[in-house]
């Protein structure tokens, strides 16, 4: 899943938008989803689905798959709300909790779709460039940037190790999990040594600069119109009740 999301972050049609705009859009919508009631939340849900699939051209199969996974998790979390335990061991469903649970579900999904939009349209390094511009400590941003690179390095190693294990009919025993962790740690350690060396060969651990700028910025009239309509609608909804 992680590679698929990451690939779309670079290949979607909204890659040309500036990361700041997408971040702004996400936070505005997230804000409305958090403070509004179910009508705003539905609007946010539909709006984000439009931008994710309609504009960014992320396929429905991916969106649906991610949404399904999120809903499943949401379902589990909600279950703990509506089920009540009493002693001796007895489970029952609390009717009065069904209404708040439904409200919670729609809020969570609306907020989640904002997050998903950001995730699938904006490469993480570009987000870090924005954060750096906003004055976050360089040390933290550098740590994040390096970690992003290493995550994919270790993920690749983990995936290949699992594949090789499956090729030998293994991979279900907890001991294999332990071995995998051990190997990953060894890989992390070896990479550390190799990276330090190659970095030294290039002139040492100076600060890591980035020039990350999205290629070109062009915002279409349709998006601006859709955005304005959304905001007006949301505003009306909010003020109206």
């Amino acid at each position: 899943m992680i590679r698929e999301f990451d690939r779309w972050a670079y290949d979607n049609r909204l890659r040309t938008w500036r990361a700041e705009w997408k971040l702004l859009l996400t936070f505005a919508m997230l804000f409305f989803a958090m403070i509004g009631d179910w009508r705003e939340q539905w609007l946010v849900l539909v709006g984000m689905a439009y931008w994710t699939m309609g504009r960014a051209r992320v396929p429905f199969s991916l969106y649906g798959k991610a949404m399904l996974a999120a809903s499943a998790f949401l379902g589990i979390s909600l279950l703990t709300l509506v089920v009540s335990v009493s002693f001796p061991f007895r489970l029952s469903i609390v009717d009065s909790q069904l209404q708040p649970a439904a409200e919670l579900a729609i809020r969570s999904l609306a907020a989640w779709s904002c997050l998903f939009f950001l995730l699938v349209t904006t490469p993480v390094p570009e987000l870090f460039a924005v954060l750096r511009g906003m004055g976050l400590p360089t040390a933290l941003v550098e740590l994040c940037v390096l970690m992003y690179r290493f995550i994919f390095l270790l993920e690749q190693a983990a995936a290949e190790l699992m594949l090789a294990l499956r090729a030998r009919n293994g991979g279900r025993h907890w001991r294999h999990g332990g071995m995998l962790m051990y190997q990953l740690w060894m890989k992390a350690w070896q990479s550390y040594e190799a990276f330090s060396r190659s970095l030294a060969a290039r002139g040492g651990m100076a600060s890591i600069v980035y020039t990350s700028q999205p290629p070109k910025t062009n915002m279409h009239l349709a998006d601006i119109a859709a955005g304005v309509v959304m905001v007006v609608l949301l505003g009306l909804e909010w003020w109206g009740g």
């Binding site: 989803a33 335990v85 469903i93 989640w112 290493f150 390095l153 962790m181 992390a188």
Partner: protein, 235 residues
């Protein structure tokens, strides 16, 4: 009749619950985006920020003295992320999270782990849509602050109490996992008190339900941590 229907509904839901937790290993113990009401989200953010700032200052200080540790910290973070986000064969519902946190805390100390753990959570939100931005404060509180501190504290206490390294590590990983899950239960209970009985009943309920998966899990994670540590130490 009605009771039977209720019971079978509950049974089905529980079955789904167990099936889901085994399918969705990676989601274990995160609070989803938008799940907490805004006032609680803000509350946990505010509570979390001072810890984060302190941890960050420690980190910046450490990096000034040992700039080469930047790579190592990033790798440790990536290691933790991969452990907690990928399917690694272990017991049902496992995310192997305490292993990563345990190693990190022992290696760098809890303050640095606060920052690394938070960044890991941020990556889970921004790469996988697990957890979330509004709930980052709450999640970071339980996983990146309580978890590492409990792990570190338990480890140090046990070592001072002349306990063997393995036992100390086992307890550290195990208890930090339990502390994380109790914190999460508390966060949920505070936000969603039960209609009858309030927060306490709600807490007992959340803690009770999560205990079904989390207690055996914490124990296996403890064992795995010790096993991995043994290998690392012996070669």
């Amino acid at each position: 009749m009605k009771r039977i229907i209720r019971w079978s509904a509950v049974a089905t839901l529980l079955a789904v619950y167990f099936w889901m937790t085994s399918e969705q290993e990676a989601y274990a113990m995160h609070i989803m985006e938008g799940f907490l009401p805004i006032k609680w989200a803000l509350f946990w953010w505010l509570l979390f920020l001072p810890f984060f700032v302190l941890g960050l200052r420690r980190l910046v200080h450490t990096l000034k003295q040992h700039p080469e540790q930047k790579l190592l910290m990033a790798l440790a973070g990536a290691f933790t992320f991969v452990l907690s986000a990928l399917k690694i064969p272990s017991v049902t519902g496992s995310s192997s999270h305490p292993t990563g946190i345990g190693f990190g805390s022992v290696l760098f100390g809890p303050w640095v782990m606060v920052v690394i753990g938070t960044v890991v959570l941020l990556f889970q939100a921004m790469l996988l849509a697990h957890g979330g931005l509004t709930t980052l404060g709450a999640n970071a509180m339980s996983m990146a602050i309580i978890g590492p501190f409990v792990a570190y504290g338990v480890y140090q206490l046990c070592r001072k109490g002349k306990m063997s390294n393995r036992a100390a590590l086992f307890l550290a990983a195990c208890l930090s996992d339990l502390a994380t899950y109790v914190t999460t239960s508390l966060q949920l209970a505070l936000a969603f008190p039960a209609p009858e009985g309030g927060i306490i009943v709600s807490l007992l309920k959340f803690a009770g339900i999560f205990a079904i998966t989390q207690v055996p899990l914490a124990i296996t994670e403890g064992i795995v941590t010790v096993v991995v540590w043994n290998w690392l130490a012996s070669y």
